[in-house]
Symmetry: C2
Subunit: 343 residues, 2 copies
């Protein structure tokens, strides 16, 4: 039978249990009992109670207590899903850290952390609603469920959303329609006609936009419809899906992958099926993989200028925190094209 422990154990609980004061317990916990000259027996009894009762310190209380009233400290968070690739997040974090370092001072400190949630379950993040964890956050890689949640409640602190448009928040994203359109331009301009668009099964607003714009542009320019192939988030799954597609349409000659991870799998499938890239099939990705220029062949990409995206995000975040901005706004960053050997 599990011990039905009621309220969490605090320093007080332990103090009462042992028959000493909270101060004594605190002293032992911070290993200052020597200088306070607590009786070794008391120390031992306290230690034992701490162990038995399963005491876990309350970090919020400690932090409040330890807080130096002369320094401003701000907690920033980057909220992303477990499922999304971390490369962009890490790049963003580095850039955020740089901007933040520039704004730091002896009396102004920032701490930034990455917090993850399961795709679609942003609402379950503890402390999200009551502003008790962050002074400001960047939210990215959300699924439509998360977007719906965000639309329904305006979070009571500074929020910048990346990659989707939510009317109640500041949003930074690739100019809608542009990514897909330019990918189509490259492939159609290279005289490719039997086209494929490869996406994850679970579409975010960004990936859906890229697909839709690509399909529309191809249709407009050639009168033909690209085939839509869906896979998981992994290269293995993409490879499998493309293999299956090649069996049905051996003459396909151009492919747009809405994430680079999928492009990586597609390249693999194409090469193992004996297709040369770009001679037989041209491939375009979006530049969200750290090493897209070391793929074989290096991947042509159509995607946002991430440095610019991050710069806009950080600038908005600080303006929100300082309340220089109060109204939501949408910022679009035009995608850039990086031509490499895959087209």
């Amino acid at each position: 039978m599990a011990r039905a422990e009621k309220r969490p154990v605090t320093v007080q609980t332990i103090a009462k249990h042992v028959g000493v004061s909270a101060a004594a317990v605190s002293t032992v916990l911070s290993n200052r009992h020597e200088e306070r000259r607590l009786a070794p027996a008391t120390v031992e009894r306290i230690r034992q109670a701490v162990r038995e009762l399963g005491y876990v310190p309350n970090v919020a209380a400690r932090r409040l207590r330890a807080h130096d009233p002369d320094v401003h400290s701000m907690d920033l968070g980057i909220l992303t899903t477990f499922e999304a690739p971390l490369f962009l997040v890490s790049r963003a974090l580095e850039e955020v850290q740089r901007s933040v370092d520039a704004r730091s001072a002896p009396d102004r400190r920032f701490s930034i952390s990455i917090d993850m949630f399961h795709a679609g379950r942003l609402r379950d993040m503890p402390g999200l609603l009551n502003a008790s964890r962050f002074n400001g956050v960047i939210i990215t890689n959300t699924l439509p469920e998360d977007d719906a949640f965000l639309r329904s409640t305006t979070l009571p602190y500074a929020v910048v959303v990346q990659g989707r448009r939510l009317p109640n928040y500041c949003c930074v994203l690739e100019t809608p329609g542009e990514g897909g359109r330019r990918a189509a331009e490259i492939l159609v301009g290279g005289s490719r006609r039997r086209l494929v668009v490869l996406t994850p099964t679970l579409l975010t607003e960004t990936t859906a936009d890229r697909r839709d714009a690509f399909v529309a542009a191809v249709r407009a320019q050639t009168g033909r419809e690209p085939v839509h192939v869906a896979a998981d988030f992994t290269p293995a799954s993409a490879a499998e899906a493309i293999r299956a597609h090649l069996a049905k349409d051996p003459r396909c000659d151009g492919l747009f992958a809405v994430t680079d991870t999928l492009a990586l799998g597609a390249l693999h499938a194409l090469k193992s099926a004996g297709r040369r890239v770009p001679q037989d099939v041209a491939v375009v990705g979006v530049g969200d993989h750290e090493h897209a220029d070391f793929f074989d062949p290096p991947l042509t990409c159509v995607g946002p200028a991430y440095d610019q995206v991050v710069a806009e995000i950080v600038s908005l975040l600080f303006n929100l925190m300082s309340r220089r901005r109060v109204r939501p706004v949408e910022v679009f960053v035009a995608p850039t094209v990086t031509l490499r050997a895959s087209t």
Copy 2:
């Protein structure tokens, strides 16, 4: 002239400034002034003061206040450097989250975040020393400076260190010497004799161990010395370094890269120099890249079984937090070999 603002602005500061009570300010900040029926003029004055004085809420205080006394909440952190690849961290985080979900209950919540520091400057992390941020942390990717710092101060909360041996902490790492030895086995066993070991210029304990063990094993088995080539952390830098090495030693026939990112650059340089992999040059990496099996050719890897590493780490962390374990311990995880087309 910048306003030499003294103490950070609190709710009290604003209250005094406007001539109202702290409660009134708090009400406005949480947008509850309607239900409290504050005078619109007062609300406006408070809002203005908040803006002018640059108020930033103290999250620790809010959290303490908002804290539900019936739930235990524990803050876990994964501490890593900006410079290291995030893939392993994200994998670890997912695994940690899984374990933690299993240990969660209505009255027990965990939150895990990734916090990053600049390599070599772990000591500058705010809140690291006074246990006011985390109940437990996993530390990884440290440089020797960070290790020296850790050795000099025992952090006052649960800590598990990954990839290095520090006598005052619980450590989980690849069995020392094994990774390099097995890489040597594969290459020497494949009759490669002119060998290269490729490392970052800044070595961690793990990468140094792999290099040293490799060099020792090759020397023991062949009587010859592998050439040590160093690069930055990027594939581009690795490619450049290998290109330079090929110019000096065109007949080199085997390569061990102590990180996969470097292996990726090496593969590129080898192929552009007309070397076939594995026929002309065999390549071994360590399995720390998410997509090493989609490299071209897929990369043979010698590295720890990460699932096992993470399982050991999490188990130690919980034992430390619950004080079931109090003494430091070293846990070794044997590396596994994944043979792929690059050898």
